[in-house]
Structure formats: C-alpha cells, structure tokens
C-alpha cells in the first residue's frame, strides 16, 4: 500500500443553519477542533501551507485571518460542489511531491445568509445571456437523470425514497448532522414534490458548515499519531451533458473517470472499498454514484438499496454520516467533512455510525460546470 501522505487530524463542527456564526467563526471552531484532534499534539507553526475549499466567497489569503496562519502559502480551490474534495486532492499532491511536510485543508461555506439560500440565487434566473438554461434548478438537473434512469432500467421513486430513509437514519446517529430525524418510505413519497421525481426528502438541506483536516508527509506522520490514515490516490474528471452523449443523462461519466484514476493510483478495484462517503445532494445522485463508482453495473444502482447492500449494516455501507441529505451540504466544507468521516471510520472512532473493522474507504463529490451539473467529479481513497 501507498504510504506517502497521511491524514493526522480532523475537526468538524455541527452543521446547520448557523445564523449566529460567521464564516470566520465556523473556521475558527473547525480549525481548533482539528488541532486538538491530533493524537500527539501539533503546534500551528508546524503547518507549512494550507488549501481553502470555498465555492463562493473567499480568497486563499482570507483563511489566514481566522487561523492566524500568516506568512505561509494559502491557495483557494474551487470546483463546484467538488470544491472541498478537490482542495484535499491538491493538498495531497503537494505533500506527495515533497514540497511541504504538514498541510491544512479547510472547507467552508455560508449558505444561509442570503434569502432563500445561496442556491436559489444561483440557479433559477440568471442574466439574459443565460436564457438557454432558463428555470434550471439543481433538483431539475439531477431529476432529469432520474427520469431517464427510471425509463431505461426500471428504477422508481420508491428506490430513491429508500436512500432517503437510509441516510436520514444514519444522520440521526451522527453527532454533527444538520437533520437528525428518521423518516419512512411513505413519508418520503408523500412529501411535497420539489421537482418530480424528487420530493422534499429527496433533497439535501441548505446548510452552513466548516471542516478542517491536517495531512502530513510519511517522514513526519508518526510524530503526530501512531494511527495515521494513508491517502492512497485521487482522481478528477470533467464532462458535460452538452456534449450530446446519452451516457451523460443516465449518470455522471465524470465520476467514472475520477474513480478509474483513483482506483488505478491506489492499486485497488471497487470491490476493495468497505465504506464510502459519496455525493448525495439528491437521492437520485447517490443511486447513480453506485454505478459510476463501480460498486455495481450501470443500470443496477437501485438494486444496491433494494438489497440493503449500502445500509449501515450492509456489506458496503454508503454515507454512514447521513450524507449530504442529512448531514447537510455546505459546498466547500462537504468534501472535507467526507474525508473527516472516512478518517474516523478507518481509525474506528466513528461512534454510533462506526462500520466494524474497515480498512479502505472512498470519498466522492460531484460539482457544477457550465450550464449543467455533474460536470466535475473528484474521488479520494484512504486506507489505514
């Protein structure tokens, strides 16, 4: 196995509608939690560089203010909703290259300060030059894949509801989740329709949050912990439905491309994955992820949930943290929080959502591109 870059600490905050906390307040809390999480302790002066994942608001340099990390290089990374995982991926490359020994990755997003949330502002009616995608919304673009998947493969709204039930169950057990309630298939099916085939509980909430992780080069990792989690590889893929390919409307080829690269670098296959945190901005997204990540064949995603494979007690638990559906989706923070969760899972410190005895975990995000979603995808693989 690859032992070059280690995750040595992770700090979460409770995700939610944090009207009483600014971006800086959220970063401070996640950063200090992260410093305190390092088994053998760490001094801020040991951090040599930082990457900030934020989709909407900040330069890299702005991270120095709430962390006090002045006079080190800090870059901001943005890649749609894959922002956090892409920031982590780039930070890992820098450590693998031997440029820095200890690096901070911080993801943050303030989603609820604007009326209706950041997404409502972004999606529905941008300037006249964008008439081409008039009345586009996030649930619309993901729902379009759902309808086509139903048509080609016989999946249906009940399958999506089962994913919602699973993720809400997991979220009810996860300490940092925005939504902590259980739901039933009937409740999900009978909830108000947002964008058919997606109802209210098929959609992730609009959530504020931040998360930090610390990574270290193999040369120094043992100075910080005896049980590091090793980064095995990453991939990134970019595509668009505008290219006219049918495969873009029954899944996300960008995810398949990112996954292939990550599996190859890690020297493993999808069968080796024992726990995964994947992008479930909507239930349908998670169903398509199963296929695009290679957990099953194309067109069989709905069978994974039908057979309970992806449940917390299944053979491949997906989104033990409740996923974006229950934990919340503060864009820049989402991917970093997924890394934090896989780190806890592989160290056996995931509490009530712990999957027994897992060694290899996968993290995955999908991001927005031009005129359509699902255009960018990032996968990271970790191993203890």
């Amino acid at each position: 196995m690859r032992k070059e870059v280690a995750v040595i600490g992770a700090g979460m905050i409770h995700f939610g509608e944090l009207f009483d906390k600014s971006v800086d307040n959220m970063i401070e809390e996640a950063y200090i939690n992260c410093l305190n999480s390092v088994d053998k302790g760490i001094e801020p002066k040991e951090i040599e560089a930082a990457w900030l994942g934020s989709a909407y608001e900040r330069s890299g340099a702005s991270l120095a203010v709430p962390t006090g990390l002045f006079r080190i290089p800090i870059s901001r990374n943005e890649n749609g909703c894959a922002t956090g995982s892409d920031a982590f991926r780039n930070a890992c490359y820098a450590v693998k290259a031997g440029i820095y020994k200890v690096v901070l990755v911080c993801g943050v997003e303030k989603m609820r300060d604007t009326a209706g949330g950041l997404i409502a502002k972004a999606a529905a009616k941008s300037g006249i030059e964008m008439w081409r995608y008039r009345a586009r919304t996030m649930p619309a673009f993901f729902g379009l894949r759902g309808t086509r998947h139903f048509h080609e493969f016989g999946s249906n709204r009940e399958h999506l509801a089962m994913i919602s039930v699973k993720n809400h169950h997991n979220g009810s057990l996860y300490p940092y989740a925005h939504y902590k309630f259980e739901t039933t298939v009937d409740q999900v099916l009978n909830a108000p329709i947002v964008s058919w085939p997606l109802g209210l509980y098929d959609c992730c909430p609009i959530t504020d949050g931040a998360c930090c992780v610390l990574i270290a080069h193999a040369d120094v990792a043992k100075k910080y912990t005896d049980t590091p989690v090793w980064w095995q590889g990453a991939g990134c893929g970019v595509d668009s439905w505008m290219r006219g390919l049918d495969e873009n409307l029954i899944g996300f080829p960008a995810t398949a491309i990112a996954a292939r690269e990550a599996y190859k670098m890690a020297g493993i296959t999808p069968k080796d994955i024992q726990v995964a945190e994947v992008h479930d901005c909507f239930t349908v997204t998670e169903m398509l992820d199963y296929e695009d990540l290679g957990f099953c064949k194309k067109g069989e995603g709905h069978k994974m949930i039908e057979e309970g494979v992806v449940n917390l007690d299944g053979s491949l638990p997906v989104n033990p943290s409740g996923g974006l559906i229950a934990k919340g989706h503060p864009i820049g923070a989402s991917g970093v929080a997924q890394i934090a969760e896989i780190y806890e899972q592989l160290r056996g410190t995931a509490g009530k959502v712990q999957v027994p005895d897992v060694e290899i975990g996968l993290q995955h995000n999908i991001g927005l591109g031009r005129g359509a979603t699902g255009s960018a995808s990032v996968v990271n693989i970790l191993r203890r």
């Binding site: 300037g127 030059e129 009345a135 649930p139 379009l144 309808t147 947002v194 058919w196 290219r243």
Partner: protein, 130 residues
C-alpha cells in the same frame, strides 16, 4: 445586463440555427465554440437550420420556481429531429400527466417575462399535434 453580450448572442437568439461538426456530426446549439465539444475538431463547422420538432429524451416537473414562472412546469431535454441537436426547454400548454419520455413535441422560442425593460426569452415546447 449590458449590451455587448446581447450583441454577441444575437444570431443565436434570433435564428434557430446550429453548427454541425463535419468531423463527427455533433450539432452545436445554443452555444457555439470553435472546438467541437464532442470530438475536439477545430473549425470544422457548417451552418444548419434546426428542426422545430423533436422528442423528449428526459424530463422533470418543477413545482417550485421564482414567481415569473407558472408551476407545475414541465422541463425537458429535447432531441431535435434531423439535422439534430439537444436542447433544454421549458413547456407551455403541457400538464404533468402529459409528460413522458419519447413524447413528440414542437419547439419554439418565446418571451417568458420582462426584466429591466428587456424581453427575457426561452425555449418552449408543447406536445406535437400531428
């Protein structure tokens, strides 16, 4: 909204005209680029007049939209008849229960509301009455 982007897009906005890649057959519309999105060929385009009829490839029905839009509103990705092209369009005169994959539709380009004194247009489709 400033004038230069309106000026740049005028051909696309007022003519239902696409560019067809001579190398792979991909029809670019509504965005034009020099490099083909599908095969990467450079400057291999010929102008084609797009068909006003097509088939619903997939759809959703939006129940929550800004007040300018009447809901529920079906939205679809429509495959235009030859010479081809794939567009994203909102519906008119179409109910949720009318929608299905494979529905034959006619596509038009219409104003949907006014903003800052300018007409805001969009693709609109409705079931084809053959």
């Amino acid at each position: 909204m400033s004038t230069p982007p309106l000026y740049r897009d005028i051909a696309q906005n007022l003519k239902f005209e696409g560019l067809k890649c001579k190398s792979c057959g991909y029809v670019a519309y509504p965005e034009y680029h020099r490099i083909c999105l599908k095969c990467g060929a450079i400057d291999q385009w010929e102008k084609v007049k797009l068909s006003r009829t097509g088939t619903v490839h997939t759809y959703i029905v939006s129940y929550y939209l800004p007040p300018e839009f009447e809901t529920p509103l079906p939205l679809a990705i429509v495959d235009l008849d030859p010479p081809g092209g794939r567009i994203y369009a909102i519906s008119t005169e179409t109910k949720h229960e009318d929608m299905k994959v494979g529905l034959r539709v006619e596509v038009d380009f219409r104003e949907i509301y006014h903003k800052d004194g300018l007409s805001v247009p969009s693709f609109k489709f409705k079931p084809l009455r053959e």
